[in-house]
């Protein structure tokens, strides 16, 4: 065992390299997943957590290969079930830092149930959803986030399914931390991941990820240098929704509808714009933001919501301690002969 000082030194000396496993990364060249892997490997050494206390749990999909590339504890499980497995791990080992890596099919189609219930409980998992709006691993079928009309091999005439937004689903499920980043903006992604890592309870991060093979350029406008300033709006707590190359565009409310304005035109001022508030106890603003999409509106990036609520594993631990105080520690002999007993002589 390490002494506290040795442990501190050990944690302090961790680098990105320490989190890279010896397995060859097998994503297609140019896949957005690489960027996410690199950013995660970059921030973990900064968190002050010993490497052995990280566990990465994934489901199935290209994105779910993630744990193999991390030099941490990890499990590549079955399709859609990572949040449930991670919940069992976190509940039984609250001291671990448990991360879930999932895809849009994995989390929202087959695993939708576990996904929403993890967030409903606010259990201490960091859930990173790599949303490429397609099923990558099975070679390109439409997913629950694919746009209507999407032509794939399973929808040759275009998809008639209505997509939903992972952020909106997370908010609907009561998530206490919800954020979004795009694979092409490394610095911003790292800052969002750091915020997620610091959150108590479920932290959900959607990463808009490009699948070069089956859905290339799904986020082209957001990634292209020429257009991205107009295609996205960075959410900053306590700041108005201003965006654009010239930072002169904004969003304001007209009734319950969003309205795009140019500052200085038609009397529009910053004071008219929607003010971001991550801490709002009412989820209305965050949900409103989750509905903003390209091309009509800029895509919000950053932290939608960040609430301080008790984490499930804390409540569970407190309950067990309460039971021990109320009933005394367990005693097997006493337990076996509890209830109504009788003696035969």
């Amino acid at each position: 065992m390490n002494s506290p000082n040795e442990l501190a030194d050990k944690i302090h000396s961790l680098t990105k390299k320490d989190f890279e496993s010896d397995q060859d990364v097998r994503w297609c060249p140019g896949c957005g997943d690489y960027a996410v892997l690199a950013q995660v490997q970059k921030i973990l050494p900064t968190l002050g957590i010993p490497r052995e206390n990280f566990a990465f749990i994934s489901g199935i999909g290209c994105s779910s290969r993630f744990p193999y590339y991390m030099e941490t504890y990890g499990m590549h499980s079955i399709h859609g079930r990572a949040p449930a497995i991670a919940s069992g791990l976190k509940l039984s080992r609250p001291e671990l830092s448990v991360w879930v890596v999932t895809g849009d099919g994995d989390a929202l189609a087959i695993g939708g149930n576990h996904f929403i219930h993890a967030m409903r409980r606010n259990i201490g998992l960091k859930i990173i959803l790599l949303n490429n709006r397609i099923y990558g691993l099975t070679k390109g079928q439409y997913s629950p986030t694919s746009e209507i009309g999407k032509k794939t091999k399973s929808t040759p005439m275009g998809s008639i399914d209505r997509p939903f937004s992972p952020v909106a689903v997370a908010l609907g499920a009561g998530a206490t931390f919800v954020a979004r980043a795009v694979d092409s903006d490394l610095k911003h992604m790292a800052s969002v991941l750091e915020r997620a890592a610091a959150h108590k309870g479920t932290a959900f991060v959607e990463i808009l990820q490009n699948c070069v093979v089956f859905n290339d350029d799904a986020y082209g406008a957001l990634s292209n240098k020429a257009t991205r300033a107009d295609a996205g709006v960075f959410l900053e707590h306590g700041k108005p929704l201003v965006f654009g190359k010239d930072r002169n565009k904004g969003i304001r409310l007209k009734g319950w509808e969003p309205e795009l304005v140019t500052l200085g035109e038609n009397g529009a001022t910053e004071a008219d714009l929607v003010m971001h508030d991550e801490k709002a106890s009412n989820g209305g603003l965050a949900f409103f933001l989750s509905q903003l999409e390209n091309p009509k509106f800029p895509v919000p990036l950053g932290v939608f919501r960040d609430l301080e609520e008790p984490a499930y594993e804390e409540l569970n631990k407190a309950m067990a301690e309460g039971a021990r105080v109320a009933k005394g520690p367990g005693d097997l002999g006493r337990l076996l002969s509890s209830g109504e007993t009788w003696i035969i002589k």
Binding site: Y73, S77, I343, I344
Partner: protein, 631 residues
């Protein structure tokens, strides 16, 4: 109906009860060796409670007993209807009891529907104690009676006792201040009082039990005591009962006993496994009849090393259990048929991960939703084979309520020793039935040795020990970070491998590991001759019926033996050789022949099947008759 005592009020009842101890009845007391009593009424009549309390009272006298609760799947079916009838059967005896009995000797019926649905089972000449007040026109119509069977002579072949339980209870409680509805709820204690008197069981113990049970609601405690007392006093005073009954003394093993159901015994066994191994228990489950009580029981034991998690579905129950086992807990998930189906894919993952956990399937009638509250043994092949790929899982089964305790420990013993998921099969019959349990001494329980590997030197996640088990490493252990998963893995490192020969080797070693458990199974116990004409092979809840049928046949001079399997995958090493020593092998099962299939496949034997799928256990007679046909 006698009206002489219908005016019993609380003081009257007390006075009557006061007389009891000194009362020298002029009635005959008939000595018995065995009796089967069935309490039946509406779901809301509280017959399960009456039956439970009665069984405790006979257990306290040292008699062995076995019960069979039989209730509809509706929580509160419309009153008086044929499908809303709920029953509780108990057999108790001066000798060891293995089943709740075939045909009841006594039927306590709270309404016409209960009589209608249960009369066909009653022995000829048997006793009927009927709550006559419930035989109203309306209730008779609901039970599809043209005329009142209590009055029309149709029950002439039975000993009929009519007691207006509802009215007597209401009279006894006229001053209680309780609502009519609450008074109605006390009927079952009146019935219990009658039965305790009729079977010469003491009455004061029950009074103190009621006081304990309703400690938080003293007005209900008073009312129930009054009803109980009134029932007892009524049975004592009435001239209706010319005879009361006394069970002959039993030669039970001395010791401390409690009444226990299979589900409760399993819960205790799992807590014991955690205590014996020093490893925390984690249960992740989703409610489903008839398995939920295990989750209920464990949820009340959070002061032990127990974490309970009501998952969002059975898949999550299984998956959270995998996560907990990965984290270093004893992982447990409990379910029944449809839930078992949902757990299948994740169970395959657990096989690949080689993590120790236990899945309990309290079987019920299937397929699909089937018969939720009835028992069946039709998930055996699912347990042994029901997964994609070559996916071996050890399977064991309990044969009685108290055996669930031992099986729970045995399941975890195998799981941790061999690093494997283990399926424990019980069924609704065992899960809900109660029997006396000789409480074991903690020191006599098997030790469960668990070792977590913490030594990084030379660590290979899939290197195996002499039992072919891989090491159990908890996340958080420094220097041993590694990845596991459902993709095929390298034989040593556990890294992904698509190598054809490696896959062959992994499939082979997983199979060999589970097959190797056979050497760890104690020799089978043979009841009856070691060779001869017939051997009956059973598993699970059929134990009692088979044992009793065999004893009966043996008494007739038949050469018949009984072997009961706890371990179903792998089969005990000595089974094949044992079966060869008999001319005929008979396999009774509550399915269409699933163990029969396994035995034929393993031993290339001709096997005679005896199958029943009616949601009901075997009658002793079902098996006895078949024995006589075969030898």
């Amino acid at each position: 109906m006698s009206t002489a005592t219908s005016g019993i009020d609380q003081t009257g009842a007390k006075a009557a009860a006061g007389k009891m101890s000194g009362l020298v009845s002029e009635r005959q007391v008939e000595e018995l060796d065995n009796v089967v009593i069935r309490f039946v009424g509406d779901s809301g009549d509280g017959m399960q409670l009456t039956g439970n309390e009665f069984s405790k009272a006979v257990g306290e006298a040292g008699h062995d007993f076995s019960t069979h609760p039989d209730y509809p799947s509706e929580i509160r079916a419309p009153t008086g209807t044929l499908f809303g009838v709920s029953g509780y059967q108990i057999q108790y005896s001066s000798r060891p009891v293995f089943t709740s009995g075939d045909a009841p000797d006594v039927l306590v019926v709270m309404n016409p529907a209960a009589l209608k649905t249960n009369l066909p089972d009653l022995k000829r000449g048997g006793i009927i104690i009927a709550n006559s007040g419930a035989f109203t026109e309306g209730n008779l119509a609901k039970a599809e009676y043209q005329s009142n069977p209590l009055e029309d002579g149709s029950l002439a072949g039975y000993q009929l006792f009519k007691i207006d339980i509802a009215e007597f209870t209401a009279n006894a409680l006229s001053n209680s201040g309780l609502s009519k509805k609450d008074v109605g709820r006390c009927k079952n204690y009146f019935a219990l009082g009658v039965m305790l008197c009729l079977y010469n069981r003491p009455f004061d113990k029950e009074v103190s039990d009621i006081r304990k049970k309703f400690a938080k609601k003293p007005e209900f405690a008073d009312a129930n005591v009054t009803a109980l007392t009134a029932g007892y006093a009524y049975a004592e005073a009435t001239e209706m009962f010319a005879t009361t009954y006394q069970m002959r003394a039993s030669a039970a093993t001395p010791g401390k006993y409690r009444s226990i159901t299979g589900n409760s015994a399993a819960a205790l066994g799992f807590v014991a496994a955690a205590e014996l191994s020093g490893v925390p228990l984690f249960i992740g489950s989703y409610p489903i009849t008839p398995a939920t009580d295990i989750l209920h029981d464990l949820s009340a034991l959070k002061n032990y090393n127990v974490t309970t998690f009501q998952a969002e579905d059975e898949i999550a129950g299984m998956c959270s259990t995998i996560g907990a086992a990965y984290g270093g807990s004893l992982g447990l998930t409990t379910t029944s048929g449809p839930g078992m189906a949902l757990k299948t894919e994740a169970l395959g993952l657990a096989v690949m991960l080689e993590l120790p956990l236990v899945i309990v399937n309290v079987q019920r009638g299937g397929p699909s939703t089937g018969l939720p509250t009835k028992s069946e043994q039709s998930d055996l092949l699912q347990a042994v084979y029901g997964r994609n790929g070559e996916c071996p899982v050890p399977v064991i089964a309990s044969y009685s309520p108290s055996d669930c305790f031992d099986c729970a420990i045995e399941a975890f013993r195998i799981a941790v020793k061999y690093m494997t998921p283990v399926i424990l099969l019980t069924d609704g019959g065992i899960g809900n039935a109660a029997e006396p349990w000789l409480i074991p001494d903690v020191a006599s329980l098997p030790k469960l040795a668990v070792k977590f590997r913490t030594e990084p030197e030379g660590f290979q996640p899939y290197a195996r020990d002499e039992n072919l088990a891989r090491p159990w490493v908890k996340p958080g252990t420094p220097g041993m970070e590694h990845r596991i998963g459902g993709l095929e893995k390298d034989f040593f490192s556990g890294n992904i491998s698509h190598n054809p020969l490696n896959h062959q080797r992994m499939v082979d070693v997983r199979a060999a590991k589970v097959a190797g458990i056979a050497k760890d199974i104690p020799p089978l116990e043979i009841h009856g001759p070691k060779s001869g004409d017939l051997v009956i092979v059973g598993w699970g809840s059929t134990y009692g019926s088979i044992a009793q049928a065999r004893e009966k046949a043996e008494a007739l001079g038949k050469s018949v033996a009984h072997v009961h399997l706890r371990h179903l995958n792998p089969m005990p090493a000595d089974l094949g050789e044992i079966l060869k020593r008999y001319k005929t092998v008979l396999v009774p099962e509550l399915n269409l022949g699933q163990l029969s299939k396994l035995l034929r496949e393993h031993y290339l034997l001709a096997v005679v099947q005896l199958n029943k799928v009616q949601g009901k256990p075997f009658m002793v007679a079902d098996i006895y008759d078949r024995i006589l046909e075969l030898c």
